[in-house]
């Protein structure tokens, strides 16, 4: 049973049956690990892992002006996404701070699916709804619907992910799976428990590996998520698939150098500081929320920069620890862990721009003991393609 103030997902019973340790994350009762989080991490790098991501938000944005509306509400040019493709973007406030980072999928000409982070879904929804009317009074012809509670999301990540998907889909969907490119989405039919299960299949992820995210409607069929999980687990056993919790998800995304909102991104952090200036479409869009502030930050250069730090030992730099140069504070760690793949500690940190170059030797104050770290290129880990 989940505590009263944490929401269960449609898969909470499955996780309990698998013996998971749970934690509250973004208001949801989520599996932290099932056994060893390092073993779960390695399974994703070497074989495959299955994750319950039903805590993520799902917001449907539809209507003849859906593309134009998203161009105004987000910093990217979402109207340029081809049908069946996806784009990573940011929802910024007027000061250029990041309310949330999210992936937007275009399912049809006038039908977009926006996926905010769990904890940020209420704020993202509120901002999107508010922005249907612009500062100058233009009203977009668009409908926004929160589909979070009606949708379960399961990820299958790792080099074995495609083979597992091919084992569970209807033969007629097989070609769509093989053909699906990175950052693309398609409809497939999964054969589950003698019946057919319609799934929206995206080739996206947060692990640095090849992999898929499967959106399934639990409104019309409350057990659809359990059936999907079970058929994937069963097919996956031949491919080394293991259930993975949020601990592995966090260490995987850190190795892949991917930001986590609340750590590397927040309403107080702008995209340029976080190394995401490339997703801000200042050149191709004349009007969007935060444009003036973001243009000024780009012009003046950010006051700090997100860098990767690596050490020679496993002693991790944790969020909030101070980064030092010759004993003087020059920045702060936002995420850090011993990297299971690399065998030494890695961290993300904001530092003053003059200390951001790869190769710079810095120290991190590990609970009173300054320990050497070196600025390295991100990502820490990149899979072979």
């Amino acid at each position: 049973m989940s505590p009263q103030n944490s929401r269960p997902t449609p898969l909470t019973d499955v996780h309990e049956r698998l013996g998971a340790s749970f934690t509250d994350f973004g208001g949801w009762w989520m599996p932290l690990r099932y056994g060893s989080d390092v073993a779960e991490h390695r399974a994703v790098r070497e074989a495959a892992g299955i994750f319950d991501l039903s805590h993520m938000g799902e917001v449907s944005v539809t209507g003849p002006e859906a593309g134009a509306f998203l161009d105004y509400a987000l910093v990217g040019r979402l109207s340029a996404i081809e049908v069946g493709k996806a784009k990573y973007s940011l929802l910024c406030n007027e000061s250029g701070g990041v309310i949330d980072d999210l992936i937007t999928y275009r399912r049809a000409e006038d039908d977009f699916l926006v996926v905010p982070n769990a904890a940020n879904t209420p704020a993202a929804l509120a901002a999107l709804r508010e922005r249907t009317t612009t500062a100058t009074g233009r009203v977009f012809d668009v409908t926004i619907a929160d589909r979070t509670a009606a949708t379960a999301l399961i990820a299958v990540q790792g080099p074995g992910a495609e083979a597992i998907l091919l084992d569970v889909v209807d033969p007629e969907s097989a070609e769509a799976v093989s053909r699906l490119r990175y950052y693309a989405i398609t409809d497939v039919v999964v054969r589950a428990g003698g019946g057919e299960l319609p799934v929206q299949l995206a080739r996206t992820g947060y692990t640095g590996e090849d992999g898929f995210e499967l959106f399934v409607d639990v409104d019309s069929d409350p057990h659809a998520a359990e059936r999907l999980w079970e058929v994937l687990e069963e097919a996956g056993s031949a491919h080394g698939l293991v259930p993975c919790g949020l601990a592995a998800r966090d260490s995987l995304r850190l190795e892949a150098g991917m930001p986590l909102h609340g750590h590397e991104l927040s309403e107080q952090i702008d995209p340029f500081s976080a190394g995401l200036g490339g997703v801000v479409a200042l050149k191709t869009k004349e009007s969007f929320v935060g444009r003036e502030a973001l243009a000024a930050i780009k012009e003046n250069g950010p006051a700090r920069r997100l860098v990767g730090l690596a050490s020679d030992t496993k002693r991790a730099a944790r969020p909030g620890y101070t980064v030092l140069h010759d004993g003087t504070p020059v920045g702060e760690v936002t995420s850090g862990a011993p990297s299971p793949t690399l065998g030494h500690a890695v961290a993300l940190a904001f530092v003053a721009p003059e200390h951001a170059e790869a190769g710079t030797e810095l120290d991190v104050d590990l609970r009173g003991r300054p320990s050497p770290f070196r600025v390295v290129q991100l990502p820490f880990y990149q899979r072979e393609r």
């Binding site: 989080d37 496993k314 002693r315 011993p338």
Partner: protein
């Protein structure tokens, strides 16, 4: 698994999750409840032999992929032996916290407030 199943019946415990055996010098270690909460242990920092430790005070730290915890000495005395095996292979703490992953052997002068296995398990059930 309930808390009592994670408690070794032969040891006594501090409220901070350290166990002590009844030998002399006494071995001390971390309970399985503590280790399970930490996750995969990747680093253990222990005092050297000859160091004086004080009951209820920090004598080392243990680091997992997700967090860092301090180790509180359950007894006052002098460290006579440090388990180098667990420093070399911290994963022993996950696999055998009550056996191979003992941390220190201490020549005990006095004990801190120690709990019986039943009292320790009951305190953990309450905390859950």
């Amino acid at each position: 698994m309930s808390a009592i199943d994670k408690v070794n019946q032969d040891y006594r415990y501090s409220a901070e999750h350290e166990w002590v055996d009844s030998a002399s010098p006494a071995r001390i270690g971390l309970s399985q409840i503590a280790v399970d909460a930490l996750g995969d242990v990747v680093y253990v920092d222990l005092p050297e032999a000859g160091t004086t430790v004080t009951a209820g005070e920090v004598c080392g730290e243990v680091e997992s992929t997700k967090s860092v915890s301090e180790i509180y000495s359950p007894v006052t005395g002098t460290v006579v032996e440090v388990n180098d095996a667990v420093a070399d292979d911290p994963a022993l703490l996950n696999s055998d916290p009550y056996g191979q992953a003992w941390l220190l052997a201490v020549d005990v002068e006095s004990e801190g407030d120690l709990l019986s296995p039943e009292e320790y398990a009951a305190a953990q059930e309450e905390a859950e």
